[in-house]
Every structure is written in C-alpha cells, then in structure tokens.
Amino acid sequence: MRRFLARLTLLLGVATTATAFGAEVSVAVAANFTAPMQKIAQSFEQDTGHKAVLAFGSTGNFYAQIKNGAPFQILLAADSATPARLEAEGAGVVNSRFTYATGTLVLWSKQAALVDDKGDVLRTAKFDHLAVANPKLAPFGAAAIETLSALGLMQSLQPKLVQGENIAQTYQFIATGNAPLGFVALSQVFADGRIKEGSTWIVPASLHKPIQQDAVLLTPGKNSPAAAALLRFLRGAKARAIMQSFGYGP
C-alpha cells in the first residue's frame, strides 16, 4: 500500500511538472486580432513551452458561449465593454482586465486608385456600396459610423451602407469586389509594415472613440499558470512588437 502511494505521488509529481513546463491555455480571440494572435501564440510557445489554443470569432458570440459554460480561459475581446460585463457578472476574474491593443480603422478598397489619403472619395458618388461592420456588434463598425457622423456624411451615405456581421465578413465583401470600398481594421490589410494591396485611408484617431480591445482572465483559467503566462506575455515587448507590425497601437 505504501509503495502504491509512493508511486502515485511520483506519478502525480511528474504530471504536475509536465503541466508546469507545457500546459495548454484556451483563448477566445476577437476576429480582427486573428493574424497578430497567431504569430504571438507561436512566439509564446517558443518562449514558455505553453501552448495557446486559439478560437476566433465575434466577441458577442463568445460572450454567449462563455455565459453558457464554454471552457475558455482567456477572452481577447474586440471591445472593453464585454470583458467589463463578464467581470461584473462573475464570469471574469476580478482585476484581471487590461487593454492589450488599440485598433486602427482604415477605409480600404481593393482597387488601386479609388481611396485617396484624405478619404475625400467618401464625398464623391464614385461607389454604390460602402461596407461597414455591424456597429451594434463590432467596435470597428461603431468607429466607422462615428467617423461618418464626424465628417457629416452619415445621412448622404446611409443608403449605400452594407453591413458585415463582423470585421472579417466586411473585409470579404470588399475583397470580392461586391462592395468597392469599406471600413476595416488596419491589421486586415497590413503586413510587414505596409499595405498588402489596393488603396487605403488611415482614419485619424480624432474622428472616433479609441478602439480599445481588452483582455480578461475567465473563471476556468483562474489557477492556470499557462493563462497567467500568456497574459504576462501579451504585455511584454515581443508581443508589442508583433502587434505593432500589424498596425495595432499600445
């Protein structure tokens, strides 16, 4: 019996050590943060030995899933309201929230010369559809609407608006040419420090409220060393540099 117990202790010891060296952390990631997060997860795995298992989707969907028992340990939201709400409702760990990135809004077209660097194209009649993300669901959509209002163009452009369910679908509308131009996240059209294709106008931050994206530790991740390590990693210099290369601000 004693030998059995000793073996069991040994076994448990090995198991715990294994966890400490390479545990998994499951992360729900806002769709707009897909590209940078894939790189960050790679770098995180190399540095710490932990593995970040990523699920991408819309923040509203994740909220519903988390409230209904989804086993995510961290939420990287597209806004700051959802993490705050999860914390207030007891699904998030108190005092674990922080802003991991600030998004940059761009007006983008796949056509080379359609969008000028001041956004004056919005005042012309050169297009029949303008794609935005649903402002009720996506912070980038809300920022796009705020921008149009600030420019005094909301009324004239309202009939031309088509809404994507999230920022990824909005991109799809423009990339397939169904909408000649639209508002997306800089991270979607930006790689290695430059615009991948087409023409863009980087919307000045003064035209809309900042797109603050907050992270929150969720209850299933409360005692997970891997979750804590990932949250630390997200604030570190390496993650910052990756975010910057995708056009995110601190």
Binding site: S58, G60, N61, Y63, A64, D128, H129, A131, N134, K136, L137, L161, V162, Q163, G164, E165, Q169, Q172, F173, T176, G177, N178, A179
Partner: protein, 226 residues
C-alpha cells in the same frame, strides 16, 4: 415585444418566401418532369446537381454566390452587361440565392409525385387524342397535386429558415436584406436576448405548425388516394 424593426424583418421574410415559392414551382416543375420521365443518362448528374444545396453547408453556397455575383464573377458580369448592376446586397440577389438554396425541396416532392403517377395516365390521354401539353396540364398536374402542395410548403418554410446564404450575400440592410433569421442572430450577438426570444420563439412555433400541417395534409391525401 416585437419592435418595428422586427415587423419589417417579418414582412420581408414573408415576401421573400412567397416569391421564392412561386418562382420555385415554375422552375422545379419542368425539371421534376424531365427527371421523372427522361430515359437520358444525364438524369443522374442533373439529379445530383439539383440535390446539392441539400447537403452543401450554406456557407459554401453563400461564398460562391458572393464571388459569382461580384463584379468579376460570371453572374455579376452578366447582370452588369444587362445594365442591372450587381445583385449582391439586393432583394433580387437574395431571391436568386433562396431559389437555389431551396431547389431540392421543390423538385423532389414533385418528381416523386410524377414518378408515382407512372406512364399509364399519359398513355391513356394520348389514346384519347390529347396533345402532350394538354395531357400534361389536364392529367399530370392534377394527379401530382399532393406533390405540389408538399413542394410549396417545404420551399416556403425552408426559405423562412434560411440563414447562412442571406448572411453572406445580404449585407444586413433593413427592409431589403435583413430577414428574421439574421435579425435574431444580430440580437443574440448584441446580447439583446429578450428581443431574440420573441423572434426565435415565433420562428419555432411557426416551423412546428407548418410541419404539423404538412403531416396532417399528407395523411389526408393518403386516405383519399388509395
């Protein structure tokens, strides 16, 4: 309770479903007739093609439609050449998507009804010197009536329940492309669960009533026709 936006979505959904059903009956009847009676080898491939929307995920259909309807896509180039512009984000575009999406639900019941009828009624009509077209309208169509009713009800209900295709080619425009299913999705995503419940509950009851009605109707026709 139901707000004006919800009522608008319901009206639009009913319009879309009615028009789709009407178009489908027109399109599906000749296809079903041909599938039921032709000796051609092409019956197999065409039958499979017509059934495809039944098994394909709506995202596949929606994605290909989005690409096809776009300015570089084959349908988009055709509609632009005709001076209609592109059909994505329009009611007409949704109508086209819905007809394709619900095609098997219209073709199959009608095809089965034609098959069940057999060759004999048409042969008898021919011996009575009815021209083929006359025989088709005065003999085949009335005999296949239960198939048409099933096809109409299923097409209507299936279009009301359509979601993925609308989401991908609609653009969520109130009064034009925002139907009940996408409205519910929007409410759920925006965490407006109370509004979502009203619409979602209504949808559940509607679908149940339609299927129950269909069931009762089928039992009745089964009893009438020996």
């Amino acid at each position: 309770m139901l707000d004006p936006a919800a009522l608008e979505a319901i009206t639009l959904t009913l319009q879309l479903a009615s028009l789709t059903t009407l178009l489908l009956l027109l399109v599906a009847t000749p296809i079903a007739w041909w599938l039921a009676r032709s000796p051609s080898w092409w019956r197999g491939p065409v039958g499979a093609l017509v059934t495809l929307p039944l098994v394909l995920p709506p995202t596949v259909l929606g994605f290909y439609l989005l690409v096809a309807l776009g300015p570089q896509g084959p349908i988009g180039q055709l509609t632009q050449a005709l001076g209609w512009g592109t059909l994505s984000f329009t009611f007409t575009g949704l109508l086209l998507g819905s007809v394709i999406y619900s095609l098997p639900f219209a073709v199959q019941p009608i095809q089965h009804a034609f098959e069940a009828m057999g060759q004999r009624p048409m042969e008898v009509a021919a011996t009575l010197r009815a021209k083929p077209l006359d025989a088709f309208f005065s003999v085949a169509l009335p005999l296949a009536r239960p198939g048409f009713i099933t096809a109409a009800i299923l097409s209507f209900a299936h279009t009301v329940g359509e979601f993925g295709v609308v989401l991908m080619i609609g653009g969520n425009i109130p009064g034009k492309t925002r139907v009940v299913s996408t409205q519910i999705y929007g409410h759920v995503e925006a965490m407006e669960y109370a509004q979502a419940h009203w619409l979602a509950g209504g949808m559940l009851v509607f679908s149940f009533v339609v299927l129950l009605g269909l069931n009762l109707l089928n039992r009745k026709t089964a009893r009438v026709m020996p």
